[in-house]
Point group: D2
Chain length 383, copies 4
């Protein structure tokens, strides 16, 4: 079996494995517009292979179900009408069983396709599809955690599956000297269009922490009234805190005077040494401000990455998600991938405990609106 | 087996029978705040028996699961905290299987209870619970239709199950003379608190139609621009039409120039002779205004009911839902049943094709906000 | 001078007199969509005479300014496009001075018209216009109070002008026997279309209070936690209390432990014996429920009115605003007056300290949504 | 008279001169939350001098009116409670006359203060106050235009006062070579904290247009369906277009087939050669994308500025408003000036026809949310 087919099959199997602890009911709900149901993730990642690969490379390919293009397209406007993003939780049919049929059908066709000669274009699209599915694996888990968090009886996804119970392995600060640094992806392997275009960036001297902020650090901020003092906050962050009555990181709740956190293993007491997570950019920035420090830019982060221990949290940077010089949007649906989100979002660097193995890359640019907290986010400091 | 137990068991079985065509996925979604998922209806009607009967009448009753009080309470504030009404679709656990376990557990305990001597108070509560469950059977079906209507692939609930394909059996007008009429329930059988307190109402001469408005009638209204002419509409109705871009009854859609309607059998062409349904009070009133006629009051309706053929639609009246003279709210949770909704709603009389057999009653006062259309509503005219 | 002209001129002068204490700035703001600026009231009541009278009865009448039809029309859709209701506070031109020019121009033309022979139709329209202007006088004052209440420095409209400092003159209960009562206007004088159609209503025995609820009464309700106990409230009222964090009647504020109220004389301590005002229907109903009493219906109120001392507050009834039997909407713009609001509103009976002298009438049906509090409302009880 | 006093007095006089064509009514309205009334701008800029200068430098200074701190503070949370930002249009008192009294009172005290020896700290604060007032002069005019635009009768502010009727003076492209450029303010004169910290930035080769996009250019984009084709738009921009039904630049309206624009001289036909204005960042980006070009970054803009003709429009850059390296927020209220807005906004460079003379500076960083259009914005292209 080719390496490519192996990669494809492993990735596809991993999505199914992630859903192994689920009941049918768990595949459905979409409590908020920024998250999607497991059923949708499983379908959409499959649809991607059907739409972008099978329809193009398999002569007389018979699509599994013509409705699925409509139902499981996400933001690809090139490909026609889409179901309304915020109503995904309402769509009960196709059933979960039918979605698994769909996966098998597409998998079988891809397998057949990959057993023949593979053109570079096909290979590239398969690898894009694999990476796309990996992104949805991460979202599937974080979205599921979010859905479960609404349930007052705190469902357990799986014992010994905790995204947030990790400690720092290092301490201290790394010093980086001023100079021109090369930023962006270069070389052979897979990468997204948004990280392409290796280019020079001038950086002034800076220091970046080898550790991530812990729960204990953040509790100190909370205890000195960090959430109540406007002076640490960006104006937009301060409004966010007040309008949403934010008083702690996401999923935290106080029980009999002790902070607990909802996890995929159920409700757990906060461990002081665990690395903080589920905080917004606003909270990251306010914490740094209170410390008299700042967040690194994405360029500083990348310049320092080889000397840092990273991969436990998506680390908020103080860089907006903007195009690199010479960024070009690809033609067609594939081109809708990344460029169209390049406004009003902040870059996160690194990877998290929810990121599939092998998906991380030091040039990877993740991005979210500054208010979002349901990803496995964290704080690294700079000065 | 006692008649009461028989009634209880038949009613309980009927709820389960209604769900027979469902997949697990169908039990979950709540696309709008005014509707609830099947899983919730099944649980809530069960909770009612546990909370109102078993906890009171069974010594040492062991509740099935302490979380369920919280999850499946609806608006009974007396009984403590409730899950948020608009997030019912988010709660995946307990699973559907567990809900059926819950039903069996409660059914078994009620059965045991009803095999002993039955106090009048117990009998009354069982009958209240039966009627409560019947109300939820009607909602279960209309809510399910609403959820299915969001799905672009038009799921079929069941062949030969059509709530809206009925014709008029009579034509012409019934004349009623002025005088004092007795309104409200009197006698022995079951009735809700809101219809109690038989009292005198003076009615002037009026005529009421023996037929309900049909699709053909309403299409005529649509074709002369009824939805575009403010002069037929109440001010609030006109705003509703414009803000929501209403152009037809609910579930209607035009395909290649022909009106179709989403039904529980899937998408069907509009039949001209079928009785109109899924219209709001605003639409009912605008249609009557365009005809130079009016809607009957609930008192006129009740005074005429013995001479009318009713039961196919919930018929909008031009009466607001207000207390009858001497209306008293009962003590405790049972008292939260009806009285607290007596403002800003309009009364509907009759019954519909979704109403369980034996649940209808000529003194029955149904009520909804004037904008709602997802019930099986219709129009009877008066002059 | 004819009596009609005298009436016209007195009414017109009274609107101007009400504005005498205002600065130009006070004529402008519209802080909420249910209230309007003084400038708009002055213009709209003038526009009514121009549109309904002068354009019809004066040959070759030259309208003052063609833009004004658009700007100062309110809900008369028959007459064409209207400026957006919620943006009245944004329209700075015409200036206040120009509005006064407009009033003078229209007044002069009406004067000339009324010095000739007066047809019954003209007389009727003038009297309608006068009554319309009186309604806007009442709104002008209550809207102004509302606007001033937003200003943290508590502007004074006028010394010795207090809408809310009145005491009860009577105590005890009036008993009315069951029977058929005639309800609605009959006879010669002016009346609105909504009170026409004298008709018979059967009333059961009831008692109605000769007094209105006082601040002391309501403070007792507040002190026993009336605002915190769902069981006194209609469901919709309870949501209203919680969503809006209602803790007292409108305009009340606690200063150093003592309740004060914003009045048109500035901020004043609450007087215990003053008749309560600025409460919603929800609050009226909750108070009555707490007392074990109820609000009267509008029919009970009217049947008892001759034996009651009324006129200090608009008294909430537990009657929805619905058409009387045989109610007919008049043709054309005049017909848009009242009928189109007959849904989702409650009837208030009586009159208030803001009602112009001579405008009150025992058959008068005032109506507002149950949440509104900015009118001079009050509570009379029944049982 | 000292130069500083002269500068102060000229600036203060200029604010008054801008209001010379206004009627009292025009000083009041605030139709949208992002704009403020003229009365507020006049008061707030005065309050700044009282709060930041007089209270500090004048012994026994008697504040004009203690309420004004509350009413005319904007976002300075350090200084205590503020009136609600969105209700500025509701506050009729103090009157406009009182506001002018306030200005005179503060001006007189500042004059007296500046006739004595002037410490560097005082000088700095006066110059900050002057620049602050100049910013409010620009907002006063653009906010006023916005308010006037709501009035269906198109008020004229002043004849021969047109912010948007300017042509390009140059054509062609400027080429800049890659290298390290120094960015940010350096030297003696006034500058804001956000432009401080001159630092090195590496730029790759780029070209920047010597001209700004004209109405004719943009009409071409409109005529080829630019507003209807998602592929030119950022995802957030596309949502903005659809939710707000955007079909042209702000203030444009089609009359009998011809585009017109509301201006401070009233409604005027669109002139093809005029430089385009009143467009959002989304529109700027979509236009550039359609052209196959892009917007410059703020660093490219600054590096090229000496060779460009700029100052007619605020030019959207494709740079987010973020801190420069070593940016430090100043202590106290003055520190709330700029840094707290450094998220979710885009940088505009240059200056506009509404910018007071002498206020512009090539290192000036203006910033707005990408949706805003009421400033005098424009498009310069890069490649």
């Amino acid at each position: 079996m080719s390496e490519l087919l192996q990669l494809f099959q492993n990735t596809r199997a991993q999505s199914v494995a992630l859903c192994e602890p689920l009941h049918i009911e768990d595949y459905l709900p979409q409590p908020v517009d920024f998250a999607s149901p497991p059923k949708w993730h499983l379908s959409h990642s499959t649809w991607f292979f059907e739409e972008m690969v099978l329809k193009k490379f398999v002569t007389d390919y018979k699509i599994f179900n013509p409705h699925f293009s409509f139902l499981f397209n996400s933001y690809y406007q090139t490909i026609g009408e889409r179901a309304i993003r915020t109503e995904r939780g309402t769509i009960t049919r196709p059933t979960v069983a039918e979605v698994y049929e769909y996966r098998k059908y597409v998998d079988a066709h891809i397998k057949r396709l990959l057993q023949n000669a593979i053109s570079p274009e096909l290979e590239e699209l398969i690898i894009l599809g694999v990476n796309h599915e990996q992104q949805h694996q991460e979202l599937l888990i974080t979205d599921l955690k979010h859905t479960f968090s609404y349930n007052p009886i705190h469902p357990v996804y799986k014992e010994n599956f905790n995204l947030t119970a990790q400690n720092n392995e290092e301490d201290g600060w790394l010093q980086i000297s001023e100079g021109i640094y090369k930023i962006g992806f270069e070389g052979e392997g897979f990468h997204f269009d948004n990280e392409k275009g290796r280019h020079k960036v001038f950086l002034h001297d800076f220091e970046i922490s080898k550790f991530l902020v812990t729960n204990a650090d953040f509790l100190e901020f909370m205890e000195v009234g960090g959430y109540d003092n406007f002076k640490f906050w960006l104006d937009e962050g301060w409004n966010w805190v007040n309008e949403n009555q934010i008083k702690s990181p996401l999923y935290w709740t106080k029980i009999d005077g002790d902070w607990h956190s909802f996890t995929l293993e159920g409700l757990k007491p906060i461990e002081h040494d665990d690395i903080l997570t589920h905080i917004s950019f606003y909270e990251a920035q306010a914490f740094a401000c209170w410390k008299g420090l700042r967040l690194p830019t994405e360029f500083e982060w990348e310049a320092a990455a080889d000397q840092l221990n990273w991969g436990k949290r998506w680390e908020w940077t103080y860089s907006a998600y903007l195009p690199y010089p010479n960024f070009q949007i690809a033609e067609g649906a594939v081109g809708e991938y990344n460029g169209k989100f390049m406004v009003s979002q902040m870059v996160l660097r690194g990877a998290s405990t929810a990121t599939p193995k092998g998906h991380e890359r030091k040039t990877y640019r993740n991005f979210f609106h500054p208010k979002h907290r349901w990803q496995v986010t964290g704080i690294r400091l700079a000065k």
